[in-house]
Amino acid sequence: MTRTSKFPTARPAPPRRAQATVPARPTGSGEPYGQPGLPLDLEKLLAARLHAVEVRPYLASALFALHVVEDRSVPTMAVDPHWRCYVSPGFVARTPVEELAGVWVHEVSHLLRDHHGRGEQYAKEHGKNGPGERLRRNIAADFEINDDIYGDGLPRPAGAVLPSMLRLPDGMLMEEYLRTTSLSGLTPDLAWLDCGSGADGQDRPWELGPDGAHGLSRQQRDAVRFRVAEGIKGRPGDAPEGWRRWADEAFHPPQPWRQLLGAAVRSAAGAPGAGEDHSYRRPSRRAAAVPGVLLPSLRRRPPRVCVVIDTSGSVSDAELGGALLEVAAISRAVGGRRDLVSVISCDAAAGIAVPLCRAENLELIGGGGTDLRSGFTRALRSRPRPDVIVALTDGQTPWPAQPPPCRTVVGLFPRPASAVNEDNPDYTPDHPPHWARVVTIS
């Protein structure tokens, strides 16, 4: 049996060139960049994408989801929020393949990190819009990307902006870069920099818009981002720290700790048996309507909150002061009185419980190592017993083996995992126990 008999229809038209692009847009917009008429070297561009997939396999589905659009009015390469990638043929012609691979990863990072949404949000919150602002947002987004995606088989393209150019530290978020500096020192020679609306949320003349061909809908974009994030979380060894952090937070952005701490303390103080309960000590005001029935009334007993503070050397005064004020404000909000909030400072041994009303200039005594267990014991011994214990600590402490007989909220000051005990390098602090509600304070 011959092959041809098996596939009678196996001889279609002669092979065409691979075509991933839609035809160049008819609107000729000046063509300020690159030579006019230069064809797009699609093969080079796709080889660069393969290179990127090879060295960053966890970004593969995001890279493949990008749709290439040839456009001569784009300075280099740019993306829009609908996951189209606009490419200047001239830029492809003059850039080596390995640098193009870096540009691919750079552009897809804008989309994965939702820079357009965050940029719009920032503009809305700060009331800033305009060409200069667009450039600032683009640069700040580039800082966030460029400080951690290159290296390891992915050379940094020439002309990539870095935080170090403004003597800024690496590893910050776009919003932080926008807040910290004017970024104005860079702008004159970077006015050409343009990663498209995918980087800052402002439409460009060359973009096809939400209704154009081959755009991804919001749900599809979420699906791609989700798949990439799950891939990174599934094999955390392959991805660097920055990408793993992104994967953890992509769909669960961290919330402000004040609100979380407030909600945790409120619900601990308001849970049945603590702050409020039915009581027969006074008849319900509704009892008059049903003679002969004794209805319990809902009585509020102001919750007693005891704050156990880790005063070991590893927690800074500023951190503690902020958190303590927050707890006091929250307990007032749930109906607690100031004299019902007491504070115990605790390092290796616990101090005495000081009511907050007498602690205007509370002096936190301590230093050295921590054992919060003594603080818990002391808090539970105080009379009347607290309804809620709030422990403010950096977590470098042993925890009570048994859950205490009242609600527990742990305000945790995060410490980098590398903070090891130098006396005992094998020592790793326990996680806060599961019976406590843990709020990370950062």
Binding site: T9, A20, P96, L154, Q259, S267, A333, R437
Partner: protein, 431 residues
Amino acid sequence: MISSALPSTSVLTTGTSADASGTDPQLVLADDLLALLRTTTTETRPDEQLEALALAVAADLPVLLWGEPGIGKTAALTQLAASLDLPLTTVIASVHEPTDFSGLPIVGDDPATQGVPMAPPQWAVDLVRAGRGLLFLDELSTATPAVQAALLRVVLERRVGALQLPPGVRIVAAANPRASAADGWELSPPLANRFVHLYWVHDRDTVVRGLGGVWPRARLPRLVPERLPEAVAYARRAVCGFLQARPTLIHRLPSTETRRGGAWPSPRSWEAALTLLAFGTAASVSREVLASLVRGAVGDGPGLELLAHLDRMDLPDPESLLADPASAELPMRGDLRQATLEAVVAAVGARPQRERWEAGWMVLVRALETGAADLLVAPARVLASLRRDDWEVPESVERLAGVIDLARRADRSVLRATGAAGAARTAGVGR
């Protein structure tokens, strides 16, 4: 079309004449002006969040709208009730006591033998008398935990005290997110699990058009009768297939502080997701609407995973592609296309026969003719490795030569980059 009720006393033509009851003519005029202001019309306009709300209400699942105060949650519900012609009953949960939802004890003649019945409040009696309606529980997040506990039965079993709410009653609740409600309580996980959570944001155009007098019209989704059995089968296949693959997602209590008070997966909320999927399929709503509903029922993570599973279900079946490779229809999107090609190669690898192997090459050639070449590199490598010694390389593979060139070019580039990395670092590349 006319949404809000006109004040019954107001007649636009009466003008200024003071009537017999001695009402000030200016007050009558004021009423007229108010009546004019409150006369709004609706128009048909695509509005995803309204569509999602209407679909969940149609599916008879309790909905919880999260939104900042003053964003128009109540207005949207008023519109919905008017367009569905359902009487709207609003109950502000936070100003009630638990007994308002669990019933007030009434002492009869002989409590020892007859018991003490739990009398329902008037709004519940009115709802039962009407037989149908939209029960709107407002300010849910500021209700105390005891009230929330009493609401559990209302929301799930539709019982208020001894009274059973009729099946025609739909339940919608509203709450302010924790970030904006300084004195709010968080929703207890059991109550949160009973709702489909929808996040309500204001759309600039909708607000501007609405203040101009034209609101978007909420309509029940149009269910296509022929599609009903197919929709149920599809939804069951999707959810069951997914949960078989990810059994850990069947039940997962919210563990971290950020996820409390929101949707989380449990058999109950999966059932809600299945219902929504069937309704969405039968009504052919967009993926966006379906996504917000499914994520609102089982939570963001499990919801997104289910949607990704739906995407994979929608991919072409590898066996049918292998059966007729010449006319294979491959997805246009690069990542989906690559997933399809990988599935085809995996299918060949699962049952390696010469015919299937050759058909696999045909599919790859077909993919080269219709899309980007770099997607083919990985599947082609795997397919080539499946070759047995006595299998001849089909002619069609020659057409994939360009792909091999592309792969070589990328490999060379990777080599250059890794080789040059050390040198570049010392030279300080990139200014």
